[in-house]
């Protein structure tokens, strides 16, 4: 969805045309010069997978990768992203194959309402690119800027650790105990 073109005549003069490279595809978009990468991704490129929870750099929902590094797209001007590689959640999948992070999040129930999930997936992807075998503390630290109000984070940390293992070629699913303590206990009737 894009704003009608003719509604801000006063701002016409300050519109720019730029080509953004997002998930390996070029998008040529026209937008007011002060618009953020978040706004242009969602409205100009129609990529609404990137979410907004504050637009002030406080929640992490809008995190995307810029040349592989995680940035808060609500704090980056779209014009500044031109000429750089932007990666969003829409580019995580390869064809029909989920990225190991997506697969681990699905299997472990690490996405509840899902609103924080795109930002967390992208932040985690950057972490794993730079540190293929992170400890739980390193995962917690890397995700400290990504708020999640639903999950309590335990499953997210667990899913990132598991995805890291899969990416290293250790496909074995780790036992639940390793992360959560006791499995379903003996059944009393």
């Amino acid at each position: 969805m894009s704003e009608p073109r003719n509604v801000e005549p006063a701002a016409e003069a300050s519109r720019v045309t730029a080509t953004l490279r997002v998930n390996g595809e070029d998008h040529t978009v026209v937008f007011p010069v002060h618009h953020t990468l978040l706004e242009v991704l969602r409205e100009g490129c129609g990529l609404t997978g990137t979410k907004h929870g504050c637009e002030l750099g406080e929640c992490g929902a809008c995190a995307v990768l810029l040349d592989g590094r995680p940035v808060l797209s609500c704090l980056v001007l779209a014009a500044e992203a031109a000429g750089h590689e932007v990666e969003t959640v829409e580019g995580l999948q390869e064809g029909n194959r989920l990225h190991p992070l997506q697969a681990a999040f699905a299997d472990l129930g690490a996405a509840q309402c899902g609103y924080c999930t795109p930002g967390i997936l992208m932040t985690a992807k950057a972490l794993l690119a730079q540190n293929p075998e992170p400890t739980a503390e390193e995962i917690e630290e890397a995700l400290a800027g990504n708020l999640c109000r639903c999950t309590g984070y335990r499953k997210i940390v667990q899913a990132v650790a598991w995805a890291a293992a899969i990416l290293r070629g250790e496909e074995e699913r780790p036992p639940e105990e390793a992360f959560l303590g006791s499995p379903l206990p003996e059944v009393r009737r």
Partner: protein, 742 residues
């Protein structure tokens, strides 16, 4: 079974309301009251905005009743003369450009002649502060059992205490939002609203009332919802009406999405509470009498406060056997944004008081906290404060023992003593809470709701589950798929879950009160059974026979589908006396014992939860992954409420309405959380399930405060236990007051 709702969420394809296209539409915005109380003298439209191109809506544009319908008709859709809280909606604007819209909102000045506001709910109001009845009390409730005064006269020990909890903001990650548009012309024109919500039929009813329209001319559809926790129970009704009013005036689609700061400042909060306990014991540490007074800060309008108070008072005496109980509760007005539904719904407040008080009692009586609880926990055959006989076969002492064992209580106790003696600045402690949570609506609530669910056979042989139950992260779609598939002998892929759309699904009630899996899930089972009957397929026939019968039906009745219906019927033997608050307050309860281990840094007074154990009995666990997720998420929300989350209120307005200064837990704030379930199937819930979602909000705060008491030998009675409040406590100053509507 894996989460079914997962895939779209993981690939960025889930269409939350702000992701929906609305070509040619307008953005909406809300202009709000600057003062906590007063009369609107004038609304000034400032310079620098071309007002002729702006859609402007005020109270005169409300075609029906200017009321957001809920329990009492007191809250206006748009203030009509009087305002009762800062950020109350006064005016609505819409324009195609968000930038111009923001400028326009700033250019409007609402001039208010001030009236004396109530800024502290705990103080008796002066005459000129009265705004409701003759004492500003929205609701009073009383529970009486036995002879409390006689029991106190005979007591060996009497222990008193006052406990307070603060407001809490929901911080669902997706802010409130609605998209409204019109379909059809003239007499057939339908107002359609799609947005973020828990309860499509609440929104539908409120729209009909405010717009003065019959039910068939309003349609409400839930968009995927980015978290609710109660914050999207009643509040979305107002947002939906606002979006619809703008769309009706503009004759174009209007999207109204709150910004974070607006959402935090203007939406409902958890009720702040003040609770006084006076408790009598015999010489053996057995409870003789509980005398409890509960006061809730309801904010400026009634909203759901009567029912929040109801759940609060029913849980106030805890899961204990006590022959004599007196509970007095009231919900009172303050000129602050209305308090509303929030996970736990009054029970976390009164259970914080009860469980913190039990530890204090244990100390006075010279007993271990676990021992005092063990002596007094309800056993089968005992009755609760309302006289409800508990006879479900759950061994509540065994739950407690299991939690102590999982936490390594005894060993840690010993280890802490030597660790604390060696550490110059750090102290560790352990705390416990045993508690319960009534599952489903209170009292006769479910009977009044008279919920219905449908399961339809589709032409291709699949079935569609039609309910108004919404998915907002808890896994409703997965659970309902599991339930219907099991009941009909189908594969999950053969079950479709209908989008909650009031034009297509029956009213299965609101998605609140931990009732979805247990109650609506049971209706889905009944609807499956009814579908089998209509198709002439026996209960034991396999799924293939069901599919074949559905296809045969469609061949024989072209254009007509077989629909099974499930209707709510109360479990047999349930009696509730609303007038005297006696009897079976809930069909059943979830039971739990939680243990928190904390470390306190005496230089910074920062409390860190370093280990957490949550043991509960919630009937049959339908999906282990989802159930763990509910417990972990609830525990962490409660850690935030207990330690971090504090509203700074000045002049009746929340001043820290940003995520940088209203701090919720991050990934670095959470301890390992060991979750264990003890299963005891409940015969009247789907597959034996009880409610689960709210229970984990009840126990962590008192367990953490008890752990701090254990670590430092102090007696914290108010949360959030921020460094400032803890420092004052340790240094013997008065505890900082907990923000009510100060």
């Amino acid at each position: 079974m894996k989460r079914r709702e997962g895939l779209a969420k993981l690939t960025g394809r889930e269409p939350y309301v702000d992701d929906l296209p609305f070509d040619g539409g307008l953005w909406g915005a809300t202009v709000r009251s600057p003062l906590p109380r007063g009369r609107i003298r004038e609304i000034r439209f400032g310079a620098g905005v071309d007002w002729s191109e702006m859609i402007v809506v005020d109270h005169r544009d409300v075609p029906g009743r200017n009321v957001i319908k809920l329990i009492v008709d007191d809250q206006p859709v748009l203030a009509a003369g009087e305002v009762r809280h800062v950020h109350e909606a006064v005016l609505l604007l819409a324009h195609p450009s968000r930038a111009l819209l923001r400028r326009a909102v700033r250019a409007v000045e609402v001039v208010v002649d001030p009236l004396p506001p109530v800024l502290d709910y705990r103080r008796p109001p002066a005459r000129e502060q009265i705004q409701h009845g003759d004492d500003n009390v929205f609701k009073r409730l009383a529970i009486d059992k036995g002879d409390v005064d006689a029991a106190f006269a005979a007591a060996a020990h009497v222990v008193e205490g006052i406990y307070q909890t603060g407001a809490q903001e929901h911080v669902y990650l997706e802010p409130q939002g609605m998209l409204a548009w019109l379909e059809g012309e003239g007499e057939r024109e339908v107002v359609v609203v799609r947005g973020s919500m828990q309860c499509p039929y609440y929104v539908h009813e409120a729209l009909c009332y405010a717009l003065g329209r019959p039910a068939e001319r309003v349609r409400v559809i839930q968009a995927p919802t980015g978290g609710g926790f109660g914050g999207k129970e009643e509040f979305p009704s107002g947002v939906a009406i606002h979006a619809a009013l703008l769309a009706l005036k503009a004759r174009r689609p209007v999207k109204l999405v709150y910004e974070r700061g607006e959402d935090m400042a203007a939406t409902t909060k958890r009720h702040p509470s003040w609770v006084r306990h006076r408790t009598a014991f015999d010489a053996g540490g057995n409870l003789l009498a509980q005398d409890v007074e509960v006061v809730l800060d309801a904010g400026a309008y009634v909203t759901l406060s009567p029912v929040v108070l109801s759940r609060g008072v029913i849980h106030a005496a805890g899961p204990y056997r006590c022959p004599n109980v007196r509970i007095r509760g009231r919900a009172v007005l303050a000129n602050f944004v209305p308090a509303g539904a929030f996970r736990g719904f009054g029970a976390p407040q009164t259970l914080f008081a009860c469980e913190r008080h039990m530890d204090r009692c244990a100390r006075v009586l010279g007993l271990e906290p676990a021992e005092l609880r063990r002596r007094n926990l309800l056993r089968d055959g005992d009755a609760t404060a309302t006289g409800q006989r508990i006879d479900d076969g759950t061994d509540r002492e065994a739950l407690l023992d299991r939690a102590l064992k999982l936490a390594g209580w005894e060993a840690k106790r010993t280890a802490h003593r030597s660790w604390n003696a060696e550490q110059p600045f750090r102290r560790r402690g352990l705390g416990l809470a045993t508690f319960f949570h009534g599952a489903g609506f209170t009292g006769a609530g479910e009977v009044y709701l008279a919920s219905r669910a449908h399961v339809a056979g589709l032409a291709d042989g699949r079935v569609e589950v039609r309910t108004a139950a919404t998915e907002m992260g808890q896994g409703t779609i997965t659970i309902f798929t599991q339930i219907a598939a099991a009941r009909l002998g189908l594969e999950p892929e053969q079950v479709v879950i209908a989008e909650p759309d009031t034009a297509r699904v029956p009213n299965s009630g609101p998605t609140v009160a931990s009732r979805t899996a247990m109650i609506v899930g049971r209706l889905v089972e009944k609807a499956c059974d009814d579908l089998r009957r209509r198709l002439g397929v026996g209960d034991a026939a396999p799924g293939a026979a069901v599919v074949e019968a559905i296809r045969a039906w469609h061949r024989q009745h072209p254009g007509e589908e077989p629909v099974g219906e499930g209707r709510y019927e109360p479990p047999p033997g349930i009696h509730w006396d609303e007038e005297h608050y006696r009897g079976d307050a809930y069909g059943t309860y979830g039971w739990a014992a939680y243990v928190a281990e904390v470390e306190v840094d005496l230089r910074t007074y920062v409390v860190t939860v370093i280990d957490f154990v949550a043991v509960q009995e919630v009937g049959k666990v339908l999906n282990e992954t989802l159930a763990r997720g509910q417990i972990q998420g609830g525990v962490v929300q409660a850690i935030g409420w207990a330690l971090l989350e504090e509203l700074k209120v000045e002049g009746g307005a929340m001043r820290n309405n940003q995520l940088t200064n209203y701090v919720i837990p991050t990934s670095e704030d959470v301890p390992p959380i060991r979750v264990a379930f003890v299963e005891n199937p409940y015969p009247h819930g789907a597959q034996g399930a009880k409610g689960i979602g709210e229970l984990p909000m009840d126990g962590p705060a008192p367990a953490i405060a008890n752990a701090v008491a254990d670590a430092l030998g102090v007696d914290p009675c108010a949360i959030p236990l921020t460094p400032e409040r803890l420092m004052a406590l340790v240094e013997g100053e008065d505890e900082a007051p907990v923000a009510g509507a100060a």
